[in-house]
Subunit: 166 residues, 2 copies
Amino acid sequence: MTTVSTKSASAVAQAESNILAALEEHGSRMTWPRRELAAMLARRADAFSAEEIVAGLPGLGRATIYRTLRLLVEVGILCKAAMPDGSPRYSLDDVHHHHHLVCVVCGRIDEFRHPSVERMLRAMKAHVGSELVGHRLELYHRCAACRESGQGGEDIHMHGTHVHAH
Amino acid sequence: MTTVSTKSASAVAQAESNILAALEEHGSRMTWPRRELAAMLARRADAFSAEEIVAGLPGLGRATIYRTLRLLVEVGILCKAAMPDGSPRYSLDDVHHHHHLVCVVCGRIDEFRHPSVERMLRAMKAHVGSELVGHRLELYHRCAACRESGQGGEDIHMHGTHVHAH
DNA sequence: GTATTTGTTGATACTCAGTATTGACAAGAG
DNA sequence: CTCTTGTCAATACTGAGTATCAACAAATAC
């Protein structure tokens, strides 16, 4: 999996300062490891696993990277989705409150919002007696690029966690 | 976490033979470890982790248990849901094609079907250009029992994976 | 400018949730 | 009864984290 970023230099700079701003706003200290990580994440256009980042920043400790990723998720600048087998993927968060459209071939994660989801959640809220404290929704598909290149005619890794394919 | 099963003896026997029948139907061999595992699972009324089963059946190898759990998921007699932090929980599958209502306090998993979900999926299918190959939906709540006993006023482990709490 | 406090770091070791490998073994078909 | 092939247990490995803790460094207080 080559790291081909399709981001323009300005988009990268923008993303980086967004991350740093979010940390600052949260009251976190600005340290060298965090700046490194911010720069790294800003450069990536795609979704990634924590271990990819660990491997890509050998100067930083594992714990620091996991801690900081969690922090960024809490702060709302990063989001974490699950692949069909349950393994997590991180991606920079553009829109807040959204759901995930995950390509099972290339792992690309798109965010979306759609009224039908909110409608469904309202209906379920009424249906279950108890208070809902959260939800998780992921839709799995083969993205346009992967469909075109004809890859993954079969499901790649649709075994594992509860996923309905119909 | 004490293993208090609220299942009647007949329900246990029923569940056990369901599991064995599903394996047989699938063309799997009937072995002592599988019978042991089936008996174990049938006894449980609640959701469980794979490691709980490993610990509860010291006579069986880890690999065997993981293999057999996966087999049972494939066969459709067992299902696997994710807790808010992403850790998997298994539970016996009663209704086919359903979604999960997970209690964040006690871990209880209920299955449900609701037309609003199907409606939402149809809408999303139309919305995204590409073919949907699967989905994952989990709703997190505090179940009636946990609300009554007043436990978990705060979210217990809502950190981690992408969960919207609002 | 220095002292202090408190957040942060990185090393190490650990847990949990699996998968890969492999030689031994046993279920069930013939 | 034999043979094939599915299944087993042991072992070792990966990925995804968390726990601990001494060393350190940012922001602040003086």
